[in-house]
């Protein structure tokens, strides 16, 4: 057959559209359907790779699970408070939490302050500004394993450049083992954190600074405000919402941080943060239940802190 018979839709009698049985979808409802259809895959993947694991961690936290017995444990085995109990009473729990808190606050404040200074100095155009701005982002984009290694080597007591110069130029009596002695390790890790993440604050603050209308400052200048006064009374109020937002973002991210501390010190010398402890439970002790319980404690403490923060700064953040 070479010619196709006209389909039923093409017959002249059906040319007129059949009266709709239902009212056609309104634009609004069509939009709603399209929205759901488009968001569904994203949502499903998010739930599968993030949502379910989070819920599962909570379940695991109340079960007796070890790596060796993993194959025998079902999703809903016996529930127990043992893990939570064990986590709360393992020596060093309170200290770990305290260290994590100091580390998070130190890292957050440090990175925002550095970022603020950096944003203020590269705000106005100068020759080579693009290059300077790009360089300032290097610590943030470079791989964590590589930058922690460089820091370790730089701070090494035997062959590190910091100790070599410190002894030669600053007259240090003996090399300082920055990352292995209790008195300096945590501070060093915090400095590292500020160094690695100031670019994040820098980017956000710079973007906000450039959105401040020039007339505002011009008017203040005409009124006789000096540069520091202009910063204090014009720029700072404009930046505060961003600073408050950065505060909460950086705090959350630092609080959860694992790589940096693990790679720099391995959690030794008084730098054990909660996530490193979770990792230890998970791998060294292969105690999955305890690891999950520790992770849940981490998440709960984090949520509490964020809620407290939002209570004080909520209006600024939103």
């Amino acid at each position: 057959m070479t010619t196709t018979a006209p389909g039923p839709g093409r017959s002249p009698t059906r040319e007129r559209p059949a009266p709709p049985r239902r009212r056609p979808l309104t634009l609004r409802r069509r939009e709603s359907r399209a929205g759901l259809a488009l968001v569904a895959p994203t949502l499903l993947v998010t739930i599968a790779v993030i949502g379910i694991p989070i819920v599962w961690t909570v379940v695991l936290a109340f079960q007796r699970v070890r790596l060796a017995t993993l194959r025998k444990t079902g999703l809903f085995g016996e529930f127990t408070m043992d893990n939570i109990d064990r986590v709360l009473h393992t020596p060093g729990f309170a200290e770990t939490l305290w260290v994590t808190l100091i580390y998070s606050i130190g890292g957050t404040v440090g990175s925002i302050l550095l970022g603020l200074v950096a944003a203020l100095v590269v705000r106005r155009p100068f020759r080579g500004r693009t290059l300077v701005r790009a360089s300032m982002l290097l610590p943030y984009v470079a791989p964590v394993v590589a930058v922690t290694f460089v820091w370790q080597v730089m701070l090494d007591p035997q062959l590190g450049i910091v100790n070599a110069w410190g002894q030669r130029l600053l007259g240090w009596d003996a090399p300082v083992p920055f990352l292995t002695q209790e008195s300096t390790a945590l501070a060093t890790v915090i400095v590292f954190e500020a160094w690695r993440y100031f670019p994040f604050a820098f980017l956000f603050l710079l973007a906000r600074l450039q959105a401040v209308p020039g007339e505002l400052e011009e008017a203040a200048r005409v009124d006789g405000a000096t540069p520091t006064q202009r910063f204090r009374h014009i720029l700072l109020p404009q930046l505060l919402p961003v600073i408050a937002l950065l505060g909460v973002l950086r705090f959350i991210m630092t609080f959860n941080k694992f790589d940096d501390v693990y790679l720099l010190t391995g959690g030794a010398a008084g730098t054990e943060v909660v996530s490193v402890r979770v990792y230890e439970f998970l791998t060294a002790r292969t105690d999955i239940g305890a690891a999950a319980a520790q992770a849940v404690v981490l998440a709960v403490v984090l949520i509490v802190f964020v809620l407290i923060y939002l209570r004080f700064f909520g209006r600024r953040v939103s």
Binding site: A34, A207, L282
Partner: protein
């Protein structure tokens, strides 16, 4: 002199000084990494404070050792580079495929539960990855996916997806609705509008997100450590490098060569697309 003049002049000098200090603290560690990677270890031990590579002591033996296959007495980083590259590209492509429609829907379309979905994406973005790591560790152990690169790609999507949705959403919101409406009046359907209007306009931002995802996956360490540690031929560069440091006494100069190998692709990528990235990363910042 009046205060304004004093401040203006001194701040001008202070500003130059501060810029110089920032340049030093950000660039120096990378310069130092590069210098160490081409110095022989004996020279480093003799003179740890040197900042330049002396004439005649330049060596590339460190790189040869890092890159050569383990069979030839090297550390096999070429395999690691291939692994990292594969995983990072796959994770980036899959993330974008899933993130773009979702981000568009959340940014543009009013549907039931939109605010909740929006909040969910932000919340999971901020959730500790170690919390997600435990059950994934359990599932992958049971499903035999531990030690497979495909499993790692799945995990990396959990790291890149939320931030991608967040960034893309912020960008889609900046595209004027009127553009889409005029396309609709010209008879384009929803998918046509997305394909012909929104996606082309969002291309710079999509590229920025792709680069950012690639960097996250390339730099990632925790999950590679958890999932691949028993399979040396599947290691990523980050993992291989960190385990190299734990192993038998490896000279620090070789470690630095490995660090350069790990860092260089990211730095090149970054400088090639710096403008795109800085603008992409902060596209939602003004809302503050």
């Amino acid at each position: 002199m009046d205060r304004d003049v004093v401040e203006t002049v001194s701040l001008r000098w202070l500003r130059r000084l501060v810029i110089a200090v920032f340049l030093v603290i950000t660039v120096f560690p990378f310069y130092y990494m590069l210098v160490l990677s081409v110095r022989p270890i004996e020279r480093l031990l003799l003179d740890p404070g040197a900042l330049v590579v002396g004439f005649g002591e330049l060596t590339v033996a460190t790189y040869a050792e890092v890159l050569k296959a383990t069979d030839d007495g090297g550390q096999g980083f070429l395999t690691f580079i291939r692994n990292s590259g594969l995983v990072a590209v796959a994770a980036t492509v899959l993330t974008l495929l899933v993130a773009i429609p979702g981000a568009y829907a959340v940014a543009r379309l009013r549907f039931f539960g939109r605010r909740q979905v929006d909040f969910l994406f932000l919340a999971v973005y901020l959730f500790p990855s170690i919390v997600i790591a435990i059950p994934l560790f359990v599932v992958f152990t049971r499903a035999g996916l531990r030690g497979s690169l495909f499993g790692l790609v799945l995990v990396y999507i959990s790291q890149t997806l939320p931030v991608s949705v967040y960034m893309l959403k912020n960008y889609f919101e900046t595209i004027p609705v009127s553009l889409e409406e005029s396309a609709a009046i010209d008879g384009a359907g929803r998918l046509g509008i997305i394909r012909r209007v929104s996606l082309p306009l969002a291309m710079p931002s999509i590229m920025a997100v792709a680069l950012y995802d690639f960097m996250i996956a390339w730099n990632e360490f925790l999950f590679a450590l958890l999932f691949l540690v028993d399979k040396p031929n599947r290691w990523t560069v980050s993992l291989g490098l960190s385990l190299l440091a734990d192993g038998v006494e490896v000279p620090k100069t070789v470690l630095m060569a490995g660090s350069v190998v790990l860092t260089l692709p990211i730095v090149i990528l970054f400088f090639a697309s710096e403008r795109l990235l800085t603008e992409g990363l902060t596209s939602g910042a003004e809302k503050g």
